[in-house]
Amino acid sequence: MSLDAAAAPADITATVATLFRRDSRKVLATLIRLLGDFDLAEEAMQDAFRAAVEQWPRDGIPANPVPWLVSAGRFKAIDGIRRRARFQAIDGDVATAVEAIPDSAARWDEGEEIADDPLRLIFTCCHPSLSADAQVALTLREISGLTTEEIARAFLAPPATLAQRIVRAKAKIRAARIPYKVPEARELGERLASVLRVIYLVFNEGYSASAGTSLTRADLSAEAIRLGRLVVELLPEREAMGLLALMLLQESRRGARTGSNGELITLEAQDRSLWNRAQIDEGLAWVELALAAEAPTVASSGTAATASRRDSALAARRRDAPAARFGPYALQAAIAAVHAGAASAEATDWAEIVGLYDVLVRLQPTPVVALNRAVAVAMRDGPAAGLPLIETLLADGQLQDYHLAHAARADICRRLGRHADARASYERALALARQEPERAFLAARLRDLPP
């Protein structure tokens, strides 16, 4: 950014607004590290941007606005602590507390520390000692910068509930001293899994419900993809790439999966010309990297100097980490990629999909994965081959209350001409399904069955 002291205030306000959108979370992440407190840092960040609006018209826009904002925020926070101390006329600990706040300005050349701050923030917000609900709320609040009201609306929860969830999580971070750091190599895999689970939860919240408040919900999926990109950029691990690919490939079908009246359209019946090509292409590229034989490398953004420093830091992290093989997200993305490459349901390489599910079942032996594999077998070998697999899974009991298991059995029975069995299973699925488009779809299938 160029120094332009003559810039009109309106331009500067616009510049600050742009910076706020792009970099406020980065500034916040570094301030949390320096100040050691979420609320103090949030206030300091707001103050820093306010100071920019006041001072830049007079002094010009600094060459490096982000470090300027961090310094300003740190200064404002220290100032605030001193002022409060004078008001409350207490303890000499304030001097110690203020002194303990490191001076970031002196260390601005140490790009690595600062570059890692957003990653520290992500790992802290998704710390496994916080409840899953709190992890999601905190991630959207602190990393995405959504307001409490926006998060509440997206999750159809009362704002007061959301606010309390965030306040409690921050209190726990402070009291239990949840560290603000990137986990060490030996625990990185597990902790990254927690981060990716939060992101995928956000994505699915935006993806699975397409009725009613569809706009805010689609925004949630877009935000999850943005978070996925951020993690891949900071920590190019296979599973992070796998998740990003999976989200892009699922999102590419959004325009095709509901009809004009909001009704659900299954993968088989979708108009594939409506699939988003750009998202598919990007998703395919990430799948390839996630499954590559060699450890993946990604061109880092930022200046060449910080990029090379980051590369070596990442290389060190990976060297210490256990040999990272691809995981469940990369495999699910690979399955989505096979669908993306097929011109129609019939032209889909079902043998390839069953093969991928075989690997996924070993990695993630859950009944839902086994169900998806059974459906793929039915597509490859015909419904008669899939039915016994699904009935065994239902007999195991774990999927008894899962509407999609009954819907899958219903569909296979329908294709086999076993209409009474199909009817019973559609009815069971309908009784269990909660989302309106799914219910409408099942009701329609039930109506279309021959008596």
Binding site: S129, A175, A176, R177, I178, P179, K181, P183, E187
Partner: protein, 112 residues
């Protein structure tokens, strides 16, 4: 920073792990200088619960609340942060048979 790790076990698991193993584990942690205090407790039926109300001290037999899992022992650790406390608590043998609740110790506010 201090963390109190409370060891909870179901009745039938109280002796699932031999004392000697617990002793060995706590000696290792002691040697590393991480333990402020650590003790095992007698079962809840030996507990006495005390209340002072309106100047009267009353005692009742048994624990404050009957729960499926009972408090069987505790460790007070010195750790830099929660991650470190978790790493230490994970070395308490009953983590395999019961559960361990990690509570950060609160500094009392001296202001009258």
């Amino acid at each position: 920073m201090k963390y109190l790790c409370l060891v909870y076990l179901e009745d039938d698991k109280l002796h699932a792990i031999r004392d000697s193993e617990c002793l060995a584990a706590s000696e290792r942690l002691h040697a590393e200088g991480r333990i402020v205090a650590a003790e095992a407790l007698h079962p809840v039926h030996t507990a006495t619960t005390l209340r002072l109300r309106d100047g009267t001290l009353t005692m009742t037999d048994g624990p404050f609340a009957e729960t499926k899992e009972q408090l069987a022992g505790f460790y007070l650790f010195d750790a830099a942060d929660l991650d470190e406390a978790v790493a230490l608590a994970a070395r308490i043998p009953p983590v395999r048979t019961g559960s361990i609740e990690i509570r950060p110790v609160r500094e009392l506010d001296p202001t009258p």
